[in-house]
Symmetry: C2
Subunit: 498 residues, 2 copies
C-alpha cells in the first residue's frame, strides 16, 4: 500500500496511518484471530509493535469502539465486543466475503427494462472515426472565440451555484429568438427547457406523456435511441413508414390508441426526406383529432442545404400538440451536452419538475458560453460556414460515388446535411459495416435503423427491407473520403464475384 | 419586425426578406384572401409592390411551390394549389389557429406521473441565499487553480467529440482510487458511471431496478428528491424510521416485498445521524437475505467533522447488493453538475445503456478538469480546508444558538457538515420558513423532509412529527449567521407571547 498516495486525497499522513491500523484490527477480528471477548493489548504495547506513535493507535481504537467492534471495560482494558451481531461474526468468518458463487447468494433482480438492457450487447463506443454518423467537423469550429467567451464567464461566481432546472435564462431568451426567426417556432423563453442533449428531452417526453404499456409511433427506419427511450416506459412501438419525402402520413391508421408519434420532419433520420408543408398540416390534424402528441425532433435542420428548409410544425398553428426538440451536439460540438425542448406553455412547470427529479440542472458554464455565442452572432456565422463546407464535402463524396461505385451502390438523393445514405443490395450490411470499421471507418449499417419491425412489403408499395451504409461525411477529409470509397469499391466488387 | 436581427442568426438580410415574403403569402392563403385556384400576380409585379428585388420574390415563390401551397402551370402562371388538403383549408379559415378555448380542442393527456407533477406546486428556485441547505461556501473555492486546469483542457479537440456515456476514463480512475482510500469503497473504474449529479444516479437506479408499482423504503425524514425519482416508476413509498444514529434497522419489517431501500448512512439527511458499523452489517444482511437493493447515498461524507466517518457499506464485503452514489455538487460546486455511482461489476454495462437512453454523455470538459483536480491533490487539500472552515462556522452558529435561542429551539447534535437542524416546537414550520425567506434567508422547514407519511407515534418510541428549520450554514458569513439567529429569536419570542 502506497502511504504517500493518501496525501493526495482526503487524509493527512497521520490519518492514513490510523486508517491502516483500523483496517488491520478489523481484519484480525473478521478472520477470527481476535475472537469476541479477547482482551486487546494495551495501546502503548500495540504502538511499539506497529512502530507508530501511541496517539495514532489510540485514535484507531477509539474509532473501533465507536463502530461497535471494541468495548472498553473501565479499569479493565479494551475487549473485542462479545455482543458483536451474529451476522457480523458470520460475515467475519467468511472473511467479509459474500461470494456470489460460494454460497449461492445472488444480487437482487432488475426491472423489466433493466433486464432488456442487460440482454442487449453493450453500446457502441461512438468512436470519433471518419464516416461516423453524427460527428460534426470539429476542425472548423471557432475555438478561439469559444474559449474567449469561456474565459470571460469562468470566474463568475454566480455560475457556480444553483440556477434552476429549466436552464439559464439568457440562453433561453437567445434560443426563443433564434428558433422563431430561423425555424418559425412560436415560443417564449418560459416554454424552453435546456436538456442534456436531445436524448434527455425525448426521455422526459416518455416520462411525462407515457404510461407503461402505451403505444408510440416511431419512424422506421428512424432514430434508434428515441425508440429505446420509449421502451423505458415499456412502450409498444408501432412502425411509421417513411419514403423519400419523410413520414408517410397517409399510411397512419385512422383508429389508434397511440399516445405519441415521434418524427424528424425537417430531415428524416436517416433517409433525409423533407416532409412537405401540406403533409405537416395533415399530420397535425391527424394527431390533434386523435389526442396524440407529436414529438418533432428538428434533427439537422441547420445543415439542410438540399432544398429550402420548411418551418417547424410546432409553429404552424397556435397550441399545436407538439413537443419541439433540438440539440447543440451537431451545430456546436457533441461533448458540450446541451439540447433543448419547447413545450406548450401550460406544461413547462411539469417538464421542469420531471427534469429536476431525473437529473437536475445543466452545466451553467456551458449554457452561458452558448448564450453569448448565439447573441454575438457567432452561431449564425458558424452555421452558414458549416453549411457551405458540408455542401462541398457532399458534392465531392457524390462525385466519388458516381465515379467509383456506379452499379454497386446508389446514394439516396435526399440524404444531405451531415451524412449520406448509400443503398447497397447486399445480403448482410452489418458485415460491410464491420469490414469498413476494421479499416478505420465508422459508418453504420442501414439495417440498424429499423426501429419497430419491418414494414410488410406484400403491397409492393414500399419495400422497407433496406440495406446499405449511412456515411457521416461531415467529419471526413478529402483523402479519407477517397480512401473510404475505394475500400467500399474493392469490397463490393469482390462480393459481386462470389 | 426587426430585420436587422436576422443578421445575428441563421439568415442573411436577403434571406430574411424572402422569409417575410413567404410568410405574407402564406398568411393571405390562410385567411382566404388568396383562395385555391387564384392566379398569382407575376413575380415582377409582386416585386414592385413589395419594393423588393424580383429575385427575392421568386425564391419565396419557389419555396411555396416546394411546400405545395402554389402550383405552376407552365406557360400559364402560378396558382394557389386547388388540391390544398382540406385540413389546410380548414386551418387556413381558422387563421392557422387551433385555439384551445374557441373550438374545445385540448392538448392530449399526460402520463400518471406527468399528472402528479402537474398537480404539484412548481419547484423552489434554489435561490442562492444564506442558510439555503446544500450550498457550499463558493467564496472559498480555489478558482485560480480550477481555471488554470480548465484553460489547459479547453483547446483539446478530443474533448469536443463523443466519448461514451459511462464517463471520462481518467476521471473514473481517479475516483476509484479516491473512493477506495477515503471511503473504503471496493471498485474498479469499470464499475463507476459518471452522472449529472446524484439525482441522475438515483433516477437510473429507479429505471434499472424498479418495475412499476414496486415498493421502496425511504428514510423519513429524508431526501425528498430521491422519493420523487422513485415515484416516476409509480413506486409505493414505505417510510423507514430514523433516529439520531440514522436509519433504525431494527424497525425494518421481517417480511417485505420492497425492491430497494434508499439510505444516507454516513450522514443521515437531514438529521445527521451516523449509522454504526454493526447496524450497517445488520442492514446489509437484512437486504441481502430478502433480495433487496441498497442505495447508499454517501451524502456529505467529506464534510463530516462531528465524529469519525465510518467506511461505506458498499465496501464492507464483496458483492454487496449496494449501489453507491456520490456527487461533486457540494465538494466542488453545484453548477458543475457532476455526480457518480458505483455499481456491481456485472451491472455496469446495463447502467451505461440506461444512461445513454435517458441523457447520454456528461460534459467532457467538466470531467477532465475534475479528474486533474483530484489527481493533482487539489481535491484533498480543498476538502481538508473546507472541513476546518465548516467546523468553525458550525461552532460559531452553535454558540449563537445557545446564546440567543435557548428555550426556543434545540439544535440536533448530530447535524453537522454543511447544515444544522434546529428543532422548534411550533405548530407550522412552513410559516417560519416563509417568514425567514422574506428576510432573505433560504432555510427549509423540517416538516418538508417527511418523505413517506408520518411514522405513527402511538408507541411513544419515536415521535416523528418534527418541526423546525434546516439551516445550511456553509454559505453564510459571520454577519449573516448573527442576523439570521436574531431574526429567529424575534419571531419565536413574539410567537410565544401569542
Amino acid at each position: 500500500m502506497d502511504v504517500g498516495a493518501f496525501n493526495d486525497f482526503l487524509l493527512t499522513t497521520e490519518e492514513s496511518l490510523q486508517v491502516q491500523v483500523h483496517r488491520y484490527l478489523v481484519g484480525k477480528i473478521s478472520n477470527g484471530q481476535l475472537p469476541p471477548g479477547t482482551r486487546l493489548p494495551a495501546s502503548r504495547r500495540l504502538a511499539m509493535d506497529f512502530k507508530l506513535s501511541r496517539n495514532t493507535v489510540s485514535i484507531a481504537i477509539e474509532q473501533l469502539k465507536a463502530e461497535g467492534f471494541l468495548r472498553a471495560e473501565p479499569g479493565n482494558g479494551v475487549f473485542v465486543n462479545k455482543d458483536l451481531p451474529k451476522n457480523l461474526v458470520a460475515l467475519a468468518k467468511e472473511n467479509w466475503h459474500w461470494s456470489l458463487e460460494s454460497n449461492g447468494r445472488r444480487l437482487p433482480k432488475l426491472s423489466y427494462f433493466g433486464q432488456q438492457l442487460d440482454a442487449q450487447p453493450a453500446g457502441d463506443n461512438r468512436l470519433n472515426l471518419p464516416f461516423t454518423p453524427g460527428l460534426p467537423d470539429l476542425k472548423a469550429f471557432p475555438d478561439r472565440i469559444w474559449q474567449k467567451n469561456q474565459r470571460q464567464h469562468q470566474d463568475r461566481k454566480l455560475l457556480q451555484g444553483y440556477d434552476g432546472s429549466q436552464g439559464y435564462l439568457p440562453l433561453r431568451i437567445a434560443l426563443a429568438e433564434y428558433l422563431n426567426i430561423s425555424r418559425g417556432v412560436r415560443c417564449e423563453p418560459e416554454q424552453i427547457i435546456i436538456t442534456q442533449g436531445a436524448q434527455q428531452a425525448i426521455s422526459l417526453c416518455a416520462l411525462v406523456l407515457l404510461n407503461e404499456g402505451d403505444s408510440v409511433f416511431v419512424e422506421s427506419p428512424g432514430y434508434r435511441n428515441a425508440a429505446k427511450a420509449f421502451l423505458a416506459r415499456k412502450a409498444k412501438l408501432l412502425p411509421a413508414a417513411v419514403d423519400t419525402k419523410g413520414l408517410v402520413v397517409d399510411d397512419l391508421p385512422d383508429k389508434t390508441t397511440a399516445k405519441i408519434i415521434y418524427t424528424t420532419p425537417t430531415h428524416q433520420y436517416p433517409l433525409g426526406g423533407i416532409l412537405p408543408a401540406a403533409e405537416r398540416i395533415k399530420l397535425l390534424d391527424w394527431a390533434a383529432s386523435r389526442n396524440i402528441w407529436i414529438i418533432e425532433d428538428d434533427y439537422d435542420s441547420e445543415f439542410h442545404f438540399h432544398g429550402k428548409t420548411i418551418p417547424a410544425m410546432q409553429g404552424m398553428a397556435d397550441q399545436t400538440p407538439v413537443l419541439y426538440i433540438g440539440s447543440f451536439s451537431k451545430t456546436l460540438f457533441p461533448a458540450l451536452r446541451l439540447g433543448f425542448m419547447v413545450v406548450p406553455q401550460q406544461l413547462a412547470a411539469t417538464f421542469v419538475l420531471a427534469k429536476e427529479y431525473t437529473g437536475g440542472e445543466s452545466s451553467l458554464l456551458a449554457q452561458a458560453v452558448t448564450a453569448d455565442f448565439i447573441v454575438e452572432g457567432h452561431f449564425g456565422r458558424h452555421l452558414r460556414k458549416m453549411r457551405h463546407l458540408y455542401e462541398q464535402k457532399w458534392d465531392h463524396l457524390r462525385s466519388l460515388l458516381t465515379l467509383h461505385l456506379s452499379g454497386l451502390a446508389t446514394p439516396i438523393a435526399s440524404s444531405a446535411g451531415m451524412h449520406l445514405v448509400l443503398n447497397i443490395a447486399i445480403e448482410d450490411d452489418q458485415i460491410l459495416q464491420q469490414y469498413f470499421m476494421a479499416q478505420g471507418f465508422g459508418s453504420t449499417a442501414l439495417s440498424s435503423y429499423i426501429t419497430a419491425g419491418n414494414i410488410p412489403d406484400e403491397t409492393g408499395k414500399r419495400k422497407n427491407k433496406m440495406s446499405g451504409l449511412v456515411l457521416g461525411f461531415a467529419n471526413t477529409s478529402e483523402d479519407e473520403r477517397l480512401k473510404g470509397v475505394l475500400i467500399l469499391k474493392e469490397f463490393l466488387q469482390s462480393a459481386l464475384k462470389r
